[in-house]
């Protein structure tokens, strides 16, 4: 059995909040990520779903080493990434890349596409100019663009094409894991499907893993093998994609599903079961963080934080109902 490519173990990220200009009293901590565990296996797509404030952006920043965890560990290929230095750090940077949401600001406006795609190669390898050209051409074709576009500038491309360029760049150095942060949310509907199909095809061809972060349930469920649902800095449910869609166990996941838009007018179903809004991460509710909004809250829920259990095979939930 192969080992997971990326592993998060009890990862925490707290941001200090202070007030006052001179004295800077500490008000408390924003517990953006508070005890997150999941793993991404080689060749699979793990979907990370949650609403604003759930901590998915902070999680991706932790994985990309833009922030360091306050607690817990992130392991890549078994090694703690916060302890990586020099050579190993460069290797991590080579094998883990990211594609951001906004295609219009993720490409350097004054660089040619070929140079943009080649940049990771330039940083990490000593390839000759011809070898670079070749690899760039190879990778551009992989994402469905013609190699001749390498000499053009980003502003000559549409949003969907720019995302392809961003994906090409992310693949240039034989990447093993790509963090995709809402990669299709800013694209037109018809282009979204193109990019999604392309991503799936790339995964089948290259065996690269994806961490697919999104807020649209249907999109994430479609491309992911497994899905992790986040709420206020914690993972409340983690299961196989189809299993989650047919049998969501956690009340928050269930609320997400009822809130999701139907794909057919005949599906205009139940009323939304969730009320209120996401509380602040500065002062999260005691016990189970979801209990104030949960239709099934029990007295226990306000006292004890639930622990993630396997309620069904390969289906973990953090809820006192199980």
């Amino acid at each position: 059995m192969s080992a997971p490519l990326l592993e998060l173990q009890s990862v925490q990220k707290y941001f200090p909040v202070s007030t006052g200009t001179l004295l800077r009293r500490k008000l408390g901590w924003v517990k953006a990520v508070d005890g997150v565990d999941f793993a991404v296996w080689p060749g699979e797509t793990l979907g990370l779903i949650g609403e604003s404030g759930c901590g998915k952006t902070t999680t991706s920043k932790l994985i990309l080493l833009q922030e360091t965890p306050t607690g817990g560990a992130i392991r890549f290929g078994g090694e703690d990434i916060s302890k990586l230095q020099n050579q190993e750090l460069m290797r991590y940077r080579r094998e883990v890349q990211v594609v951001f949401q906004d295609p219009y600001s993720s490409l350097s406006p004054r660089m040619r596409v070929g140079d943009i795609v080649a940049e990771p190669l330039e940083i990490h390898t000593n390839l000759s100019r011809e070898a670079l050209h070749e690899r760039v051409a190879e990778v551009l074709e992989l994402v469905g663009l013609q190699p001749e576009v390498a000499r053009l500038f980003p502003h000559e491309f549409s949003g969907g094409q720019r995302q392809r360029i961003a994906i090409a760049r992310a693949l240039a150095t034989h990447t093993r894991l790509i963090v995709l942060d809402e990669p299709v949310s800013a694209l037109d509907v018809s282009i979204r499907a193109q990019i999604m199909n392309q991503l799936e095809h790339l995964q089948q061809t290259l065996g690269v893993s994806y961490l697919f972060i999104g807020h649209d349930l249907a999109t994430v469920a479609h491309i992911s093998h497994r899905i992790a649902v986040m709420y206020l800095g914690q993972i409340v449910e983690l299961a196989d994609s189809l299993e989650l869609c047919t049998k969501p166990l956690h009340p928050y996941t269930q609320a997400l599903f009822t809130a999701a838009l139907p794909s057919h007018p005949d599906q205009r179903h139940e009323k939304v079961t969730i009320s209120g809004e996401v509380p602040s991460a500065l002062d999260p509710p005691s016990g189970c963080r979801f209990h104030p909004r949960c239709p099934h809250a029990m007295p226990q829920c306000a006292r004890d934080p639930p622990v993630s259990k396997e309620a069904a095979p390969q289906h973990a939930v953090a809820c006192h109902l199980y």
């Binding site: 951001f100 993720s106 490409l107 940049e119 576009v149």
Partner: protein, 306 residues
Amino acid sequence: MVSTIEETRASPVPLVTRELANVPGRWTSLARQLPVLPLAILIPFILLALFADWIAPYDPTEPIPGAKIFEPPFWMQGGSAHALLGTDFQARDLLSRLIFGARVSLIVGVTGTIVAGSIGTALGILSGYLGGWVDQVIMRVTDAWLALPALVFAIFLATMVGPSMWNIVLILGLVYWTRYARVIRGEVLSLREREFVKLAEIAGGSRARVIFRHILPNVLNSTMVLASLTIGVVIIAEASLSFLGVGVPPPEPAWGSMLADGRSMLMVGDWWLTVFPGLGILLVVLATQLLGDWLRVRLDPQLRNM
């Protein structure tokens, strides 16, 4: 008007416009959009400065043989065709001095701006991108520098190092870099958060790489706009220094010193000694300011639609 951009490119990637305000034909609309007035003023002056040796009728530092001092321009009584715009207190041809003076003003203006721009942009980038104590130090230095009265400081430096054209260039560069530093720092602060910069950092790019490949090319626009606006200021500063006698030393003609020389004769009615160099300064500075304004609108996509 048919778009010719797609015809000139053989690439199969079609142009998809995000905003509809796109340029149709490449050359025709460029011509249509050039800033006519500033260029109409600047190009002749630049040509004069470049070809001064061939265009100027006389050596500007030598008196015209056989001419009288303070001769008026040729269309006035007492003037003659051999000194079209008159002569100065040493019977030197005013026209030639004006032409060579253009050279001094433009050279000092341009190179002084380049020096100021280079220092200021470099400091602005370092300050904005590296942050922390580097930022603090540079910003405090900038603040202190700004507190100095520019011209007085320039005079001080000039008297210390002694006047010569290149010293003046250096001095002006050292005096005027601060406005660059501030503006560029601001731009870099916002650029730093842009995704393509973060991507370069995530990919493992060193700070030097990020600065030179991603930050610098994207602040060049602002640098150019600032530069065109600064040239005017530097030219006036040089003229002021020359006027006060600490600029480009005689007998090299500079518009500022020509103003100083002619000042006393203004009361007597010999207006040409001051009006012509003054007009020169006015026109060149005006043209550079207009050019800078045009550049600002052209290069800054946000301001373009205003």
